[in-house]
C-alpha cells in the first residue's frame, strides 16, 4: 500500500485543486481574451493528474529508491505544530513580546526542558532583546488588544 501512497497523494491534490478551480469566476470581460483566470489552473490540474498516474504506474520502481522510514514521537510533533497555531491566535490579544516568550517556553517544555529557571529566563531574555531591536529600528509593534485602551 505504502508504495502507492505518493501517487494517490498527487491525485488527491489534483482533485482538490481542480474542484476549487471550477469555482473561479469567469467574467464577461474574459470572453474576449485567450487566457482566463482558469486557464493556467486547468493546465496545472491536468498535468498533476498525469504525473499522479505515472507515479502509480511506476510505483514498484520508485519504492526501491525511497529511504527507510524512521520512527519518532508523533505526539510531540503534532504538539509543536499546535503550539505554533496557538501562538498565532495569541498574537492579536497578547502582542508580540508576550507571545514570543510564551511560545518559546512552551516549545522548550515540549522538547524536554523541565527546569524552571531556563524556562523563565531564556524566553524573557529573547523577548527583551527582540523588543529593544525593534524599538531601535523604529518599527511600531501593534500592542496586544488586552493591554490597550479602545473605544
Amino acid at each position: 500500500m505504502r508504495r502507492f501512497l505518493p501517487g494517490l497523494v498527487v491525485l488527491t491534490l489534483a482533485a482538490v485543486y481542480g474542484w476549487q478551480v471550477m469555482d473561479i469566476a469567469i467574467l464577461p470581460a474574459d470572453a474576449r481574451e485567450a487566457m482566463s483566470a482558469r486557464t493556467l489552473p486547468l493546465v496545472l490540474t491536468a498535468a498533476m493528474t498525469v504525473i499522479g498516474v505515472l507515479l502509480l504506474v511506476t510505483a514498484h520502481a520508485q519504492a526501491t529508491a525511497s529511504s527507510p522510514v524512521r520512527r519518532g514521537d508523533g505526539r510531540k510533533a503534532v504538539g509543536l505544530l499546535g503550539v505554533c497555531a496557538l501562538s498565532a491566535t495569541l498574537l492579536d490579544p497578547l502582542g508580540v513580546p508576550v507571545t514570543t516568550a510564551l511560545t518559546l517556553a512552551a516549545g522548550m517544555w515540549l522538547l524536554g526542558e523541565r527546569r524552571i529557571l531556563p524556562l523563565l529566563a531564556i524566553p524573557a531574555f529573547v523577548s527583551v532583546v527582540l523588543v529593544v531591536l525593534l524599538l531601535l529600528l523604529a518599527i511600531d509593534l501593534p500592542a496586544g488588544s488586552l493591554w490597550s485602551k479602545h473605544v
Partner: protein, 304 residues
C-alpha cells in the same frame, strides 16, 4: 454612535499597505507635516497590509480595534473595490474625512512615437480600435484600465474594444512603453512625471478639468472636445458613525494644514497636486466618482 470628547492631541494613521508604498508615503508625509506645523501633538502609524487593503478596512470596522483618533489613508481603488460584491466592504461604511492630493489620468506615448497629438490618436483608434495597445500599471478592471475605458467612451468607442495590457506596477508599464512593447500608456500624471520631465515620454492629453501648471502645453480631453475626467485622489477616512464634533475636528486640522509651509514643502518634495474635498463635499465627490466607475466597469464586463 461613537462618542468622543478628547481633543485632537494625537492622530493614529492606519495604512492598509506596506512600508514605502503610495498610501504609506501619503500618511507619513501628512503626519510629519501636522507635527511640524504644530497642529497635532503626536502622530503614530500602523501598517496593516493584507487582503488588498481589506485588512486595514476591517480594522476600521472592528469595534475592538478601532479608536476615535484613527484615520485610514485610502485612494480611488477603494471605490473600485466597493463595487465588487466579493469583498463585502463599502466605503459608505466609513466616515469620509477629506481628500488631500490627487493625480489625474493621462494618455502617453514615447517621445519619438509617430503619434504626435490627441487628434492623431483618436483618428487611429476610430479607424481600428484594436490597433494600439495600451500598457497600464494596475490589474484589469482597476484604475489604469478604467482611465483607458473612460477615454474610449469619451471619444465614442466601445470601452470593451480597448486593448489593455496589465503590468504589475507602474514602473513596469512605463518600461513596456519605453521599450516599444506597447504603443501607448494609460496611467496618471504623477506616476510618470519624472519620465515626462526627462523627455522620454509625451503626454497626449490629461483627464483633468483644466491644464496643470507643471504641463502647461498638454491639453485636457475636455478642451479638445471629449469631456472626461479621471482623478486618483488620496485622502483619509475615519471610523464608522463618527460623531459630528470629532469629524469636524479632523476636517479642521487638515484644512488648516493646507496653508502651512510644512505641507507646501511636502507637496513640492513629492510633486503632488493638492485636491482638497472635505466632509460632505468629499462624500458627494465620492458619490459622483462611484457612478462613473460603476458605468465603466459595466462597460468593460467586470460587473456581472
Amino acid at each position: 454612535m461613537v462618542h468622543g470628547d478628547e481633543d485632537l492631541a494625537s492622530l493614529h494613521f492606519l495604512v492598509p499597505g506596506g512600508a514605502g508604498g503610495g498610501w504609506d508615503t501619503t500618511a507619513r508625509a501628512t503626519g510629519s507635516a501636522l507635527i511640524a506645523a504644530g497642529l497635532v501633538d503626536s502622530v503614530s502609524f500602523e501598517n496593516r497590509s493584507g487582503a488588498g487593503g481589506g485588512r486595514g478596512f476591517s480594522t476600521m470596522l472592528d469595534p475592538r480595534a478601532r479608536t476615535l483618533s484613527m484615520v485610514m489613508v485610502s485612494s480611488t481603488p477603494i471605490l473600485v473595490r466597493s463595487q465588487r460584491s466579493e469583498y463585502r466592504q463599502n466605503w459608505r461604511q466609513l466616515t469620509p474625512v477629506a481628500s488631500m492630493i490627487g493625480d489625474y489620468g493621462a494618455i502617453m506615448v514615447r517621445a519619438d512615437a509617430p503619434l504626435q497629438s490627441l487628434a492623431q490618436l483618436v483618428d487611429a483608434l476610430r479607424a481600428d480600435p484594436r490597433a494600439i495597445k495600451f500598457a497600464g500599471g494596475s490589474n484589469r478592471g482597476d484604475t489604469d484600465h478604467l482611465i483607458l475605458a473612460a477615454v474610449f467612451q469619451a471619444v465614442g468607442l466601445e470601452p470593451a474594444q480597448a486593448r489593455y495590457v496589465p503590468y504589475g506596477a507602474g514602473g513596469q508599464a512605463m518600461l513596456a512603453l519605453l521599450s516599444g512593447e506597447t504603443g501607448a500608456l494609460a496611467s496618471t500624471v504623477g506616476e510618470s512625471i519624472h519620465q515626462v520631465r526627462a523627455g522620454n515620454v509625451r503626454v497626449l492629453a490629461i483627464l483633468a478639468p483644466e491644464r496643470l501648471p507643471e504641463l502647461p502645453r498638454v491639453p485636457t480631453f475636455t478642451e479638445s472636445g471629449y469631456p472626461v475626467e479621471f482623478l486618483n485622489w488620496r485622502g483619509f477616512f475615519a471610523v464608522p458613525d463618527l460623531e459630528a464634533v470629532q469629524r469636524d475636528r479632523l476636517i479642521d486640522v487638515l484644512t488648516r494644514l493646507r496653508s502651512t509651509e510644512a505641507w507646501q514643502a511636502m507637496l513640492r518634495r513629492y510633486s503632488w497636486v493638492p485636491v482638497f474635498h472635505a466632509g460632505d463635499d468629499f462624500a458627494r465627490y465620492l458619490d459622483s466618482q462611484e457612478t462613473q466607475i460603476r458605468a465603466l466597469m459595466h462597460a468593460l464586463g467586470f460587473l456581472g
